[in-house]
Amino acid sequence: MRRILLAAPAAVIVAAFVTVAPAASAASTCSGGVFTGVNVSGGLVVTGACIYHGSTISGGVTVTSGEGFEIENSSVSGGVADQPGGEFDVDHTLSSDITTGNHSSVSGGIKFAGKDIDLDGRPSPAEQRSRARVPDSSRPSAAQRLSR
């Protein structure tokens, strides 16, 4: 009887550890949606169309087959990998040809064997227009033009 009483608490401790440990290390899952300003640690598995704005994701990202992952103004560490048929867009909207100009960073490498990858560092159309304008300070003044 005493042996049973000693063994019982030990069993409870082991059971608690087994229950808690996998949850603490498991990657988060995104099944779809638009997210702003979130921090994901421990990795992310994408099982839908997932768009992240201004977010930080660490632990790596896996895009499952046929699904889409888009980041805007965000950072990913731990790399990005996909399963065949996936889509990965950076500063570019999913399933389109639209440049957003919201630049991001990815560390840890990218391994892609999917359907569509768009890593688009170009400025947005509005940004291009504003940058194409020469600032007034660099233009010759009226007096300078007259003196020429």
Binding site: G42, I57, G79, V106, S107, G109, I110, L119, D120, G121
Partner: protein, 100 residues
């Protein structure tokens, strides 16, 4: 993939090869990718105006646009069909480069 502590790099504005540069920001790439970039068996690949810290390897892929990037490593393309749009700028590759 192993977990790596993330470092958020704020917005970098730029577009290599842009005809007109205005303002205080020098010509610089948009996104920053640390590590290598490997693309295989894909049919729509656009990698444009980025900073890539490692090498770029693209194989067995179609409709590939690799333009305007600064690549610290090499750029290797095998069995690739390119599809350049009108604003394509050349890449700056520090290592070897056999990509179209």
């Amino acid at each position: 993939m192993s977990g790596v502590t993330g470092t958020f790099i704020p917005v970098l504005i730029g577009d290599p090869g842009e005809v007109v540069q205005a303002g205080p920001v020098p010509d610089c790439p948009g996104n920053t990718f640390t590590g290598s970039l490997t693309v295989t068996n894909s049919n729509n690949v656009e990698i444009e105006s980025n900073m890539v810290g490692g090498s770029v390897t693209i194989s067995d892929s179609t409709l590939v646009q690799l333009a305007g990037n600064t690549i610290k490593g090499s750029a290797q393309c095998t069995n690739v069909t390119s599809a350049m749009d009108g604003d394509a700028a050349p890449n700056t590759v520090q290592g070897s480069n056999n990509c179209p």
